[in-house]
């Protein structure tokens, strides 16, 4: 992870510099750098998985590392698919921050014996989170671009951001991909936990905040698909949804709740 993290950090510096219209001192193509770092990361995860004999989601360090891995994978795909040259700057900054937190977090195995349900829950949520991070990045870029255009400030950051139409489409697609993963992940996690703890589990902090976050995304999906919502309102909903997601992940992984205990040894 250290080598991969170095690559991610370097790519982040370059992507942010490109976003601000600066030329980095030692320019290496950001995409090549990112692909190399991601391959190293993948190799590390595979080796760890083989050594453990199960998916490498063993603790906070491993969970965050997997989130970063998924986010970079989706970034590499989305950047090419939607031609979003500005996307790496927006995704890599929080992803690298998460990578640094992962590096500082203890490597010890905490999530031990959650069983197949727990593992499935973790993997689905991580993949959903990666896609919804794209929804969030699209929302942030939309808000910035929209403000710049309303001011008529097309010369600065606006020039490096994609058109509003592209950002709106990308955000919606990311939501459509991420929401089913999130839903399945939450259902699987809730069922697994309810089996262990009974219906009382549902009033624990993790399921409560997760349900609230899910409701925001469910509302966004229904408004976008059903009522034809888009543009600025949808962008603000993407920001709200991701804020809920950050709270949920923090409560789930950082507080000493039954969620951690459930996954614990």
């Amino acid at each position: 992870m250290d080598l991969a993290l170095t690559g991610y950090l370097w790519a982040t510096v370059q992507a942010v510099a490109e976003l601000l219209g600066r030329r980095p001192a030692w320019p290496v193509p950001t995409r090549a750098l990112l692909v190399s770092a991601w391959l190293v990361h993948t190799g590390g995860l595979l080796l760890r998985g083989v050594a453990l004999g199960r998916p490498p989601v063993t603790g906070l360090h491993a969970a965050l590392s997997l989130i970063v891995w998924a986010a970079v994978l989706l970034l590499l795909w989305a950047e090419r698919r939607y031609r979003l040259r500005a996307l790496p700057g927006f995704v890599l900054l929080p992803a690298s921050l998460l990578g640094l937190i992962a590096a500082a977090a203890p490597e010890a195995a905490v999530f031990g014996t959650a069983g197949a349900g727990g593992m499935g829950h973790a993997l689905l949520v991580v993949l959903g989170l990666g896609a919804l991070a794209g929804n969030f990045a699209g929302g942030v870029m939309y808000v910035l671009q929209e403000r710049a255009l309303r001011r008529g400030a097309v010369a600065g950051l606006s020039r490096r951001l994609p058109p509003l139409g592209t950002l709106d489409r990308f955000s919606f697609h990311a939501l459509v991909v991420g929401f089913p993963f999130l839903t399945l992940g939450i259902v699987l996690g809730t069922v697994s936990a309810a089996r262990l703890y009974g219906p009382g589990w549902l009033w624990q902090p993790t399921p409560v905040v997760a349900a609230a976050t899910w409701a925001i995304y469910a509302m966004t999906v229904s408004l976008r698909a059903g009522a034809g919502w888009g543009g600025r309102r949808a962008a603000y909903l993407a920001l709200a949804g991701f804020a809920g997601m950050v709270v949920t992940v923090s409560v789930s992984l950082l507080l000493p709740t039954r969620h951690v205990a459930l996954l614990g040894p």
């Binding site: 255009l149 097309v154 606006s158 020039r159 058109p163 139409g165 592209t166 888009g230 543009g231």
Partner: protein, 438 residues
């Protein structure tokens, strides 16, 4: 003498139009003018760049006072004494000339910074000079390098980005909102000059549907014919405007034609934004329209402000562009200088190798009687010792020559080495010209 690149000319910043127009060269006169530059003006190669904002001679000096001769040639064309041009003419030589050519081709010296036409004008001037047979290897290479640097400047900096006319600013904003414009519907209310221009730009970008309406039906029909759009009666404009992605209002109406209430109704029924351009004076669109969600309203002043911001952004990029040119020119100069030092180093090595071999033969012959059957061993030792000696002696001077090749004293050092070691051979470089004695 070393063929030196020369740029001599004047532009809109240095000379008023009254001077520039006297020096203008009609296309038909160009071959004759180029021939004169090669003849009486003492240039070995010549190219003329004459646009409305500049007249420049790019060439390779053949005679010692080629710059003076070109100045006199220009003055004679303008019907003025050469001294009168002294204050307005600029001169660039050598690598600096390539830098100037690149700056001109990139549009850094243009009246509107970064305008793209100048790149085509430089290419056309190059083609015309090549057709007239006045471009040789030195000037040809310099122009190629300058165009390459100029293209890099335009790609790597924002010096040519951002619309600098009101009608293009409208198109730029439309692209920032929608991205691809091909599936968009444009409705033009009023068929004035500026509205028509914006509609034509949008039609060039391939918008799928263009509807034009005006109280003057003939004008609407004329624009419709030109752009492949459809002219509709003026009274029907609200119905068509409701379906527009891009609404251009340019009617000479004394009152507001489009109200916030109307637009709120239009956009509520659809999931896509509306880009509204109000080119009317007085304004055709209620200002409240701009406060609606997913509606973007710009009037003439807003578009002028966009143009002004783009101009300032381009000007801010000029320093970065010039830095890029300076770096590229310095790299070219280093490469050229490396080629300049190589013959001297080669001659120096050959000369010392010749001396070494002669001395080895002489020493071995002298020792032949005394060493008996150890002759091969002694020869090997003498060879090794002489090679090491020559190599150590040469190391310092060669490193000095390499280090100084791009420095100001490089040519003088090379001349000194050639003189000291008597290196007057076939591959001798030309005597240094870029450093006249103080």
């Amino acid at each position: 003498m070393t063929p030196a690149l020369l740029v001599l000319g004047l532009n809109h910043e240095r000379a008023p139009l009254a001077v520039r127009e006297r020096l203008a060269i009609p296309d038909g006169r160009l071959p004759a003018a180029l021939a004169e530059l090669r003849g009486e003006a003492g240039l070995g190669e010549a190219l003329l760049l004459a646009t409305c904002n500049r007249v420049e001679v790019w060439g390779v000096e053949r005679a010692a006072d080629a710059a003076g001769a070109v100045t006199r040639w220009l003055a004679s064309r303008g019907g003025a004494p050469p001294e009168s041009l002294a204050d307005v003419l600029y001169r660039h030589r050598g690598p600096e000339a390539v830098g100037h050519m690149a700056a001109v081709a990139a549009g850094l010296d243009s009246m509107v910074v970064g305008e793209p036409q100048i790149l085509g004008q430089v290419k056309a001037a190059h083609a015309a000079a090549a057709a007239a047979g006045t471009v040789g290897p030195v000037l040809g290479d310099a122009v190629t390098q300058a165009l390459r640097i100029a293209r890099r400047v335009r790609t790597e900096t924002d010096v040519g980005r951002g619309a600098v006319s009101v009608s293009y600013a409208a198109v730029e904003l439309a692209r920032k909102i929608f991205g691809d414009l091909q599936e968009r519907t444009v409705v033009l209310i009023g068929a004035g000059e500026m509205g028509g221009l914006a509609a034509r730009h949008l039609a060039d970008l391939g918008v799928s549907r263009l509807v034009i309406t005006s109280r003057t039906v003939e004008r609407a029909e004329a624009i419709a014919r030109e752009t492949g759009g459809k002219a509709v009666p003026f009274e029907e404009y609200p119905r068509h405007a409701a379906a527009a992605d891009i609404l251009i209002c340019a009617a000479a109406a004394p009152h507001v034609l489009v109200t916030a209430g109307q637009v709120a109704g239009w956009v509520a029924a659809r999931p896509r934004p509306l880009f509204c351009i109000d080119l009317g004076v007085p304004r055709n669109v209620d200002r409240g329209v701009g406060r609606l969600a997913d509606v973007y309203l710009y009037d003439v002043d807003d578009l002028e402000a966009v143009v002004e911001a783009n101009r300032r952004a381009r000007e801010r990029e000029v320093a970065r562009a010039r830095q890029l040119i300076a770096e590229a020119v310095a790299r070219l100069a280093r490469t050229a200088a490396a080629r300049t030092a190589a013959p001297t180093i080669r001659s120096l090595r050959a000369k010392l190798e010749e001396i070494r071999q002669a001395e080895v033969e002489r020493t071995v012959a002298r020792l032949a009687g005394r060493v008996g059957d150890r002759a091969p061993e002694v020869r090997a030792a003498v060879e090794a010792m002489s090679i090491a000696l020559v190599s150590k002696i040469l190391h310092g001077p060669i490193e000095q020559l390499k280090a100084a090749q791009a420095a100001p004293g490089g040519a003088r050092l090379r001349a000194l080495v050639r003189e000291l070691f008597g290196l007057d051979g076939e591959d001798e470089e030309d005597p240094p010209r870029e450093e006249p004695p103080p």
